[in-house]
Symmetry: C2
Subunit: 904 residues, 2 copies
Amino acid sequence: MSKGVYTFGGNRNEGGAAMRNLLGGKGCNLAEMAGLGIPVPPGFTLTTEQCGAYYTNGRKLTDELQGEIVEALRWLEGVRGCGFGSTENPLLLSVRSGARVSMPGMMDTVLNLGLNDQTVVALERASGNPRFAWDSYRRFVTMYSNVVLNVEHGLFEAELERAKERLGKHLDTDLSVEDWKAMVVAFKAIVLDETGAAFPQDPMQQLWGAIRAVFESWNTGRAITYRRLNRIPDEWGTGVNVQSMVFGNMGDDCGTGVAFTRDPATGEKIFYGEYLINAQGEDVVAGIRTPQPITRTQAAGTGMQSLEEVMPASFTELDATCKRLEHHFKDMQDIEFTIERGKLYLLQTRNGKRTAMAGIRIAIDLVDEGLIDSNTALRRIDADSLSQLLAPVFDPREKDRLRHEGQLLTKGLNAGPGAATGRIALTADAAEKLAKEGPVVLVRIETSPEDISGMVASEGILTARGGMTSHAAVVARGMGKPCVCGASALQIDLAQGIVRVGNRELKAGVDWISIDGSTGEVFAGQLSAHPSEVNQVLVDGSLKAEASELYQRFAKIMTWSHAAKRLKVRTNADTPHDAAVARAFGAQGIGLCRTEHMFFEGDRIIAVREMILASDAEGRKKALAKLLPMQREDFEGIFKAMDGLPVNIRLLDPPLHEFLPQDEAGKREMAAVLGVDLAIVERRVAQLHEFNPMMGHRGCRLGITFPEIIRMQVRAIAEAALNVTAKGIKAVPEVMVPLIGTVRELAFTKAEMVDEIALVNKERGTQFACPIGTMIEIPRAAITADRIAQEAEFFSFGTNDLTQMGFGFSRDDAGSFLPEYVGKKILEDDPFQSLDQEGIGELVRIACEKGRAARPDIHLGVCGEHGGDPRSVVFFHKVGLDYVSCSPYRVPIATLAAAQANLD
Amino acid sequence: MSKGVYTFGGNRNEGGAAMRNLLGGKGCNLAEMAGLGIPVPPGFTLTTEQCGAYYTNGRKLTDELQGEIVEALRWLEGVRGCGFGSTENPLLLSVRSGARVSMPGMMDTVLNLGLNDQTVVALERASGNPRFAWDSYRRFVTMYSNVVLNVEHGLFEAELERAKERLGKHLDTDLSVEDWKAMVVAFKAIVLDETGAAFPQDPMQQLWGAIRAVFESWNTGRAITYRRLNRIPDEWGTGVNVQSMVFGNMGDDCGTGVAFTRDPATGEKIFYGEYLINAQGEDVVAGIRTPQPITRTQAAGTGMQSLEEVMPASFTELDATCKRLEHHFKDMQDIEFTIERGKLYLLQTRNGKRTAMAGIRIAIDLVDEGLIDSNTALRRIDADSLSQLLAPVFDPREKDRLRHEGQLLTKGLNAGPGAATGRIALTADAAEKLAKEGPVVLVRIETSPEDISGMVASEGILTARGGMTSHAAVVARGMGKPCVCGASALQIDLAQGIVRVGNRELKAGVDWISIDGSTGEVFAGQLSAHPSEVNQVLVDGSLKAEASELYQRFAKIMTWSHAAKRLKVRTNADTPHDAAVARAFGAQGIGLCRTEHMFFEGDRIIAVREMILASDAEGRKKALAKLLPMQREDFEGIFKAMDGLPVNIRLLDPPLHEFLPQDEAGKREMAAVLGVDLAIVERRVAQLHEFNPMMGHRGCRLGITFPEIIRMQVRAIAEAALNVTAKGIKAVPEVMVPLIGTVRELAFTKAEMVDEIALVNKERGTQFACPIGTMIEIPRAAITADRIAQEAEFFSFGTNDLTQMGFGFSRDDAGSFLPEYVGKKILEDDPFQSLDQEGIGELVRIACEKGRAARPDIHLGVCGEHGGDPRSVVFFHKVGLDYVSCSPYRVPIATLAAAQANLD
């Protein structure tokens, strides 16, 4: 076993910031500070490896480790000039956890260790402050008994309350030395009662117990949960920091506090923190006394006294030390300090947690201040946090008001960031009508492609069912609309036009509702939502770039990211508007232009239904001929918006039944509009019914059965490209075939496409051509990608469907077990949100390898939700894709993630 | 280019039977016969390689080939002592196709080539038979014009008919020489009229045309279709045999015929064939004259004259030659012969096509005769044909009678071999009731697991929807019941209790229906069906082994197969009865014991539904406790039946909604039986509804959500094994977890299982243990098989689901496009019938490789439909599985296929 104990401070500083993995964050930074000459109470750190050793050794400390600890303890006694357990000048210790990464509040701490019935008397003498000594002892008994002996904390509190009542005293500070002495006796009685053994008086026994308790705290339920949520491997383990105590509670020339070198909420460069006079660290967070502000600025107008005013010398030293620490660690620091009789000690420093917005601001400011370079800044920003820069926002005070008024109805999944407010519409039709009078929120049990026009007309979408990748969530994010999904408390009564939540009833078309897609909150009533400043600059044009600091930060990140990345970032867009938005956000092309939405718009659905009802190819061709000019016009608009950039168009994908009404009224209406018997409509609907539509007659299978659909679409693309080219626009179409499983499907489809393009060229005397490729979204396609690459000029990974088929998870149904899977750690994440790299990623890797082997210049991309997930983007970078494609509002996120991937 | 022409016969015999791939079947056998000294008219063969060369050379004969042909022609003239195009002694040729394998009637033939207006006169002179010469010429003009010049055959026939009418003559033989001469003039006029060019008079031009026509005939639609159906690669090509003509039509001392060395229908060892006096080969098959029997035995009682009687010398020579050929080729031969002026020539010999039953008999007889060994016999038998030995049969004469009476209603898919007759039942309940009065055929639109009891009670199953792997088909084959599926002409009117086909109406419970699952035929009315003799011996015991030749043949094949194979063959069986049947058929264990069927039987479904309605684990446990004794009893029965052999039990697999009623009446009944509100039942049914149930909450996902189900099942298995062991029975259970996608699912499930087994052992003081493994049926599981093998002691490939997920094909829905896929050659086969080796097979191969790498002694098997498909079995042998498992009635087929795989 390698060395298990590293000392810090005093005359023997064995660690440093570079040893984070071995010493944990707290331990290595204590050593680093000591090395810088910053006052740190000396002590020693048990390495994180010892945590694993503790568990493999049957949850016991090894003999070697015990030896090293005793040796370090002797050294510490020497440095501090006192003795552990000494009845003259006792050494007291704090024992605290410290893992590689901060897990705040997750693990245990014991302070004042070493006190017992004898040493408390010595402390009384040495400090000349009996009240302090006995207060410290009762704190120790409470804390140790709770953390190490598992005695319930409430028992001590109840005892203290009873004593105060008996004594007629209100505050802790009202208690006398004698009172505290009596409390210690009472507390020890509780321990004996609860554990069947006396409170341990032997300081060494106390120390072994505290160290064991810290190691044990690595595996409490809350720690395990925290690690899972934050992707911290179980095997990392925690270190243990044993440090000599300094006291902020020896009198009014003492104090303790926490501080941030910048505002962790906004990122503003102001020194920011709280402190208490005559207190120990735990008091600051315990909420019994109100902590005071550290700076004069902070204190202004509060009537409170700042440290800057009360202890100016200590404040000046603290301020200087913090500046030095931030400069040294090149990041915003979160510190703990104690002032013992006027002398400042630093107990901890770490990179401070911060809000997403603060993270962005700090990273950029540090670059401006010359502390870090832009690439380092990019690596520090959570890519997902950019979505907060783009989403519309509610005024937080207005939200608070509604919350206080009891208008918070429920909370669903925060499926599409942003804030939306509007009158309630329960159907797409109603949404479209109501939208003419004012803002609308579409409220549905769940959405389907037929709701698209209603979703477009609405400010936001709220559903009672469905997860983060349900139709509503995916489409809403694609549109950049706020969306709250799976708000299961909602009961939607379509017949009466009412939404019920508990006893509350809201009337469709009358009552207002507000949803916060960043938090999942659903409010009754109206809130004002504003588009983000970035949108106001880039999309509305209602704000000048110079006027928005937020926009300028955003622009900086984008500029740096584009310079730092290799992967191109495209967007998934089906309309000129979406294409234009994505382009404004930096999209380098369209990676997925779905064509099915073009089949729903306006009167087109009539022609589509006519095609579906047709009994032969001729009938279908007649109906398709009506769609051709509309589809051509769609493509012209998109080519214009993306002038000069590639536009990857996917042929029709969904099963035909999605275009037919499923309800009685809809069927009747369809029969009337098309002038056919209801029975014919009903028969066709029944014929097209599928048990597992996800794996049914869709994608390329449609085009193989009905090649005339492919031909119409390809003709529309070719004619649109030729038309806009004539107007000086550079159209760069690519066409991809969905749901390919075998190369022969692609060969068949491609032959139809090539033939139709040849017809167009012959008619027009032109030479139009474009790359033809395929989605890789069927496991068999990934496995046989070498064969498929013989026909495909590019692959676009459809990782949504690849995840569905690869796992055998229906995205629409997996909600019944996926949360449990993540909960039971069977899956680390919802694989629809973040790519399963081990399994589905392996299919992607195999397909890339086989595809390149068969066609070395094959162009590789990914479209679908994973293209906008930062961790997935890193994976796609690693396997060597050429681009990722995601919804317009994820483009900036993917851009930053692509840069981060390349910087790693 | 290598040598393109090989001569045979005469003094230069360059080929032989070993050169089949190069010379084609006909060519190599002609050379082989010539080599044996059997009289064969000499000629030469263009190799099959030249067919490919023809196409790559722009559908032209290469100069090199033309040179070789001319050289061979010169040689042939020398051998025959006549000249091609000679006006004195003209050489006439036949030009015929010949691929590696016989494609009877698929490609073209030209006889009498070399005749023209001059050579016909020479032939007239040389033969001394003007009528023969002009008859031959008119035959040649007809055949050449049709085959080479694409002139419609009917035009010549019509002309001939008009002439006969004009002349007042009825038979071809009534026509005089002058009549035929006039016909030739008329025929040539037709050619000029149709093609715009005169009939070619240059014999070399005729020869080039005929050779090109044979090569072209390789790619006619019917040839391509035949190749697809028979899995003949397109690139093989056909050879061309150019052979000097001999004439069976020179007079009454001439003749021609075809013969089989054994009866191709029954396999009986009798010489069998047909001939015509004074005719050319085409006349035998043309049907204008009635061919005569060859042997006296054949002719007995027909009033016809046998060759044996008419030309005894030629017959004796023919008989001896045939015996020699059969002996030489060690297989039943199909020969063509011509007798020219008393001299016998063999024009072709090949292994004869035969019925499945004949194939079995001949192979076995040849072993008995010492011509081949048992392994050779096994390789010759079509494994699938064994199903005909096992299926119940209708009397063919009775079928003919019904057919003539117009009682053949329709034809569906021959989904389960065998014959069944009974009264019509339209529901499972009705089937069970009606079965008490007599035999029943269950007629459904499609079946579901709720129909199982009705299927058990019925003689056979008929459905209007669904394919070869629909629920009805799979379950019926598993039960060994005759089944006809997808008979879409059936209209089932449940309300009125009527089945309609066209205008016919059959009343449920009253009218009889008969289905032949081997042909797909559906008859109105009653037919008598008998169990196969093999069943009578092995299952009924109603027949003694010695009394059945069929059984004895079956037994021989099984004995030989068991000796020759490496793969073990298990069965899929859920009941003691099925297990016993499979064991009688040679099953070496159970590879898949589904447990869901045990949840439907009798009153169990009530407890199952109670469990599903339960709101918590306690409620579920209470309901499961009722199932435990029943499930335990099931397992005891199966262990008894399989005493000493492994029984692989799969934990519950289907989604829970399959156990709930979906219709109004069913829901009402369930609510009444369980004593709960209808609303509760309805809510639960709605909750459990899934969009894609195939990829929903099923398989191991159920057990992870409801571990108490796993625990009940494992307890039942352990207790059953311990109970029967106490009675001296050797239980060898294995337990497998379905639908595993990640190793953590298996680890979770296994932990529950191991814990429950430990509980049982603790309660009973026993040491029960059994292997725990997993299905590999999710693509992700195959891809991560190394991880999964860390927890799995065995893999059982569920290739049905692996095909569904790997292709993204829902088996229930793929009927809407799969037939088209096979038709358009996008897929060679329905991948649910025969494993897709390139894609899904690759997943199996990867999983085997990864599984073995992680756990070298991992046990590997396959269950599901592919385990009984001979071609798939060969694949499973190759990738090194330890066993295949299939339905009881496929066990003999898989056994033979396993032997064949090992012999290859």
